[in-house]
């Protein structure tokens, strides 16, 4: 069996599902996505920063659409295979303006999109790790161990929680040795706390009152 084929479907679906945040040009190989706030729609948009297209020094960008809450997240990222049991370093020049939540580079593992991580229903491991951006261009690196017990898929990208806009350029990824220290920073920790608290509140309120199934008459 060619197990790679089993990956085709979810990855294709991911590319489709990310289309809510695609007003900016989507560079090949990168997947943009964001929280969805009903009824307004996507909370962020992500892609190539238009002002960098002509310069030959293109940058990824993620920017908030309208006024956002701390738990709204946008990201643009890609999956890279083959890092099971390895330490990965993702480096870029990054910049962020008007950020009231969190913005920066992120390394996660597995296929869950970055923007969904903080609200994931299951307890996560130490990943994803993050390296926050600066108010003006600065080079930052995020270093993380990809678990040997997993599938070795690393997800790397730029993420923004809350308001503002972030950029990243000159992106590099490499496997590094154990002498390179791990990043200690997390990723959108306030957003994670807010989303988990909101979910607990929602479940608690719903559980307190019986709500039978609806439309059993199939109308």
């Amino acid at each position: 069996m060619d197990y790679r084929s089993l990956l085709t479907i979810p990855l294709a679906a991911l590319a489709i599902s990310a289309s809510g945040a695609d007003k900016l040009r989507q560079p090949q190989g990168w997947i943009a996505g964001s929280s969805y706030v009903w009824p307004q729609g996507a909370s962020h948009e992500a892609g190539v920063a238009p002002e960098t297209e002509a310069s030959g020094h293109r940058a990824l960008t993620v920017k908030a659409i309208g006024e956002r809450g701390m738990s709204d997240i946008g990201s643009i990222s890609q999956y890279v295979f083959g890092y099971a049991g390895k330490r990965a370093r993702f480096t870029a020049q990054v910049k962020a303006i008007g950020v009231d939540g969190w913005a920066g580079l992120v390394i996660g593992d597995g296929f869950l999109p970055l923007w969904l991580h903080p609200g994931a229903r299951e307890a996560d491991t130490a990943l994803p790790r993050g390296a926050a951006a600066c108010p003006d261009w600065c080079e930052v690196s995020v270093v993380a161990d990809i678990p040997a017990s997993g599938n070795g898929v690393a997800q790397v990208g730029l993420a923004l929680a809350g308001n503002g806009q972030a950029w990243a350029r000159d992106l590099t990824l490499e496997a590094v040795g154990p002498e390179v220290p791990l990043s200690t920073g997390g990723f959108a920790e306030k957003a994670s706390e807010a989303q988990k608290a909101a979910r607990e509140k929602f479940l608690s309120e719903r559980a307190a009152k019986a709500t039978p199934p609806v439309n059993l008459l199939l109308q």
Partner: protein
């Protein structure tokens, strides 16, 4: 493998795929299209038509119909379902008339403790799923409309249950005349579960994980953002 994304993928496929004449799903109902296609596709496939059967005579019926040849690596599931809150510690019953045609591995009504991902967890053989498999009442294929009930003791700590009509494998199933109620201790709970080879699915997932983990470290795609 992080199975959570595999839950999202089929939902996205249902919402975004271009099916020329998709059946209408009644309000309040959620589709679950967890198909394993015979031929892997770069696009998210639609494996089941899920919605109202507008061609059948008589009362309105909800149907799940496999429309794509299925692979045998592990089993496919299609369902029309709902998540219901607030019945922790109670015994509940879902009843209806169910009909099945073709050769499904299983078709019928089900209830289980969990959320919208309950069937997906089973589909991917997620760790621990064998401890809370949905209870199910199966219909016999080709036997016409059958009165079925599934009775479930909702665990005291369960904030929600998932219930509906499910079809494992190929074929078609219908349900009509649905009822949901809380029942007393004189009504026996259903002992049978949805017949699904969760262990086989788990083995495939593990083999997949191991295969992927052996890949050589890849490099960043398109770092210049062409």
């Amino acid at each position: 493998m992080d199975y959570r994304i595999l839950l999202i993928a089929p939902i996205a496929a249902m919402v975004l795929s271009a099916n020329a004449n998709p059946p209408v799903l009644p309000s309040g109902w959620i589709p679950a299209d967890l198909v394993v296609p015979a031929v892997p596709s770069p696009k998210a496939p639609v494996g089941y038509d899920i919605g109202l059967d507008t061609e059948a005579a008589g009362p309105a019926s909800l149907t799940v119909h496999s429309i794509l040849p299925q692979g045998q690596a592990y089993q496919s599931i299609g369902a029309a379902h709902q998540v219901v809150f607030g019945y922790a510690g109670q015994r509940v019953r879902l009843s209806g008339q169910v009909r099945a045609e073709g050769s499904p591995a299983w078709a019928g009504l089900y209830i289980g403790a969990g959320d919208v991902g309950l069937l997906a967890d089973m589909h991917f053989g997620k760790a621990g799923v064998e401890d809370h498999l949905p209870r199910g009442a199966a219909a016999r294929s080709g036997a016409g409309w059958q009165d079925l009930s599934v009775v479930f003791d909702v665990p005291a700590g369960a904030s929600s249950i998932d219930l509906g009509l499910a079809l494992v494998g190929e074929g078609q199933a219908w349900v009509r005349g649905l009822h949901f109620d809380v029942v007393g201790p004189k009504v026996s709970p259903t002992a049978s579960t949805i017949a699904y080879d969760w262990a086989g699915a788990r083995a495939v997932m593990e083999a997949t994980r191991q295969s992927i983990a052996k890949f050589s470290p890849g490099s960043l795609q398109n770092p210049t953002l062409e």
